[in-house]
């Protein structure tokens, strides 16, 4: 696997709205170069992956959503806790029709809701299974990328043993959760945190790293999404200077236009100062930081490829 991304299971979290799903998608593409195959998994029932790759809603089945120029392939899976529980029960019991009847009755929804830890262990269990699955002695996926719940819920989501241990003292669920926990805490896993240069996402990044570290979960990279190169000339944008420039360019240099431009430059500088301070806060965490560029044309395949390139660099 790539030197920069040596792990096989990449968990991608971040504050809502920072572009977690986009970054997870780009990472899945980045790691699918050179004939490799990656699996991109979502677990929150949001169907966030489908629009990213411009495909219809994903079923509970692994579907190819993209191929890369290096003859690699990205598959995607929307894990559904109910389906995962049925699948799990089916391993022990032959449910068949009865399973469907139970589902209609709401039994599965009930079981996964009454014990929230159970739901999470089913979801992460499926991810673990895909990560370690082999076919003809060869790994099915070179890397699995999990579009995980946001920073506010990530600790609880990944700390599966603690949640289930409270409810199930013995039995298969306990064994299952211990197996998942072992993988999540092993060197094959990294939890990456997506942020933007805004106060709340950065604060949540700091809090999440502290929480994950305390839980002994392996923190990977901080990925700063949607950054733009600074325009340093804005520092000298006085009214007189801007007026001279506009006149030199043959543009309207009336008082209102000049004042408006100067004001926009001033707001920009305020924003810039905030962003620089936040960059320092992130650097002080002592974790590898990757900055991804803002995508002016919105998130499409070309944009994802651009982000994938930066991630793979």
């Amino acid at each position: 696997m790539s030197e920069k991304w040596p792990q096989r299971l990449h968990v991608v979290t971040g504050k809502g709205g920072t572009g977690k799903t986009t970054v997870a998608g780009a990472l899945a593409l980045a790691l699918a170069g050179e004939g490799r195959r990656t699996l991109l998994v979502e677990v929150e029932g949001r169907q966030g992956i489908a629009p990213l790759f411009n495909v219809g809603p994903l079923p509970y089945a692994e579907r190819r959503v993209a191929t890369t120029s290096g003859r690699g392939e990205v598959r995607a899976l929307a894990v559904d806790a109910e389906q995962a529980l049925l699948e799990y029960l089916d391993m022990f019991y032959k449910l068949g029709l009865a399973g469907r009847a139970l589902q209609r009755l709401g039994a599965i929804d009930f079981a996964t809701t009454i014990a929230p830890g159970l739901r999470d262990v089913l979801l992460t269990g499926k991810v673990k299974e895909a990560t370690s699955r082999t076919e003809n002695g060869r790994r099915v996926y070179d890397a699995v990328i999990l579009d995980a719940p946001p920073t506010g819920r990530i600790g609880r989501f990944l700390n599966v043993t603690a949640e289930t241990a409270r409810l199930a003292k013995v039995g298969p669920i306990k064994t299952q959760s211990e197996g998942v926990a072992a993988v999540l805490r092993s060197p094959i896993t990294a939890v990456h945190i997506v942020t933007q240069l805004e106060e709340m996402p950065v604060q949540e990044t700091i809090d999440a790293i502290a929480e994950l570290t305390a839980l002994r979960l392996p923190v990977g990279r901080i990925i700063v999404n949607a950054t733009r190169p600074p325009l340093t000339g804005a520092a000298k944008a006085t009214a007189a200077e801007v007026r001279r420039g506009l006149v030199a360019a043959g543009l309207a240099a009336d008082r209102a236009t000049v004042a408006g431009l100067v004001r926009e430059a001033k707001d920009y500088r305020v924003r810039q100062r905030v962003e620089s301070a936040l960059q320092v806060d992130l650097a002080e965490l002592g974790r590898p930081v990757i900055e991804l560029p803002f995508l002016p044309g919105g998130v499409d395949r070309a944009g994802l490829d651009l982000l994938a390139e930066v991630l793979a660099e």
């Binding site: 966030g48 409270r166 200077e241 420039g245 002016p296």
Partner: protein, 396 residues
Amino acid sequence: MTDTLENVTATDGGQTRNGAPGVVALDVDALLADRSVRIIVCCGSGGVGKTTTAAALGLRAAEEHGRRTVVLTIDPARRLAQALGLTELDNTPRQVKGVNPAAGGELHAMMLDMKRTFDDAVLAHTDARRAEEIFANPFYQAMSSTFSGTQEYMAMEKLGQLHARGEWDLIVVDTPPSRSALDFLDAPQRLARFLDGRMLRMLMMPARAGGRSMFNLVTASFGVFARAVQKILGGQLLADLSSFVSGLDTTFGGFRQRAERTYRILQAPETAFLVLAAPEPDAVREAGYFAGRLRRDRMPLAGLILNRTHRLSTTGIDTEQALAAADALEGGHQATADTLRIHAALASQVAREARVAERFTRAYPEVPVAAVAAQPADVHDVDGLRDIGAALTAAA
């Protein structure tokens, strides 16, 4: 370094003004001044500024409209919590300092303590001994602190309590940072359905349920299910669950009724919903789902607040002009060149945001909209909240 910003705006047309024609402007001041409105619920997906907006609305209601207001926040950012004087999670409204009392209003704020609200609800309806039994049950512990619907349920419970106390003439509610804004409406009833439903009763006494009007397949499969659950989760778990449910059952006399009562408050004319979004596709889509749901449930949607929108300070120069001039001025007039690039990037952002907002206004042309300008820095004090309040009403 200049390439990126050129690309930013290369595909963009001219300028777009805020507030497209045909869009009804939301008059936030009129809403806050309307004394028949007693509850304002701020909804929307995570990260759109719900808590800050709720606090800013509360402050303005107190300072400008003389209302005795309480803001119920769910999970405020640390610095905002400090600004409101919420240094401890004690589940009690505290008066916010630094509020101008000239108009005769007051602002109180509280942070929801989910577990404590649940505990209080149990204590209010049962004796101490039974309450202790319930508190000690592992299911109660799991559910009262981690169940995904509990926060929504307890937010409603707390709203019901604040409303019943009648001490405030306006309650502003921030909603939990759910996966979906709809969770706030759905989770309480879902939770109630679980605790109150036949599913649980069947699980508790599968034998008796089998004798009633159940279909054979269901009964049979339920036996399989119960055995499977028993096997996987262990017998102790079922016993815990059983005692938890029977304990709560006698205590609450029906979770469902309780949830429905609060739901009816939300449907009453004294309640106004505000849907919040940022001008991003996901947030606006979520706002659309929520607006549709409120319309179906005949709940009073007062308007959409579009936070963090950008505005141009001048429309005298369009994007192409700005970029062409920036290239020409590169080197000689660096300050102006960069200023023009900032202007061009801003113009394209404004255009993009307008296109995103249009998706909502086309689908819900009757819903009034207030666009709130992005603040250069986050808010951490009462002065900052006052500025947001002014920005909220400036659009009208």
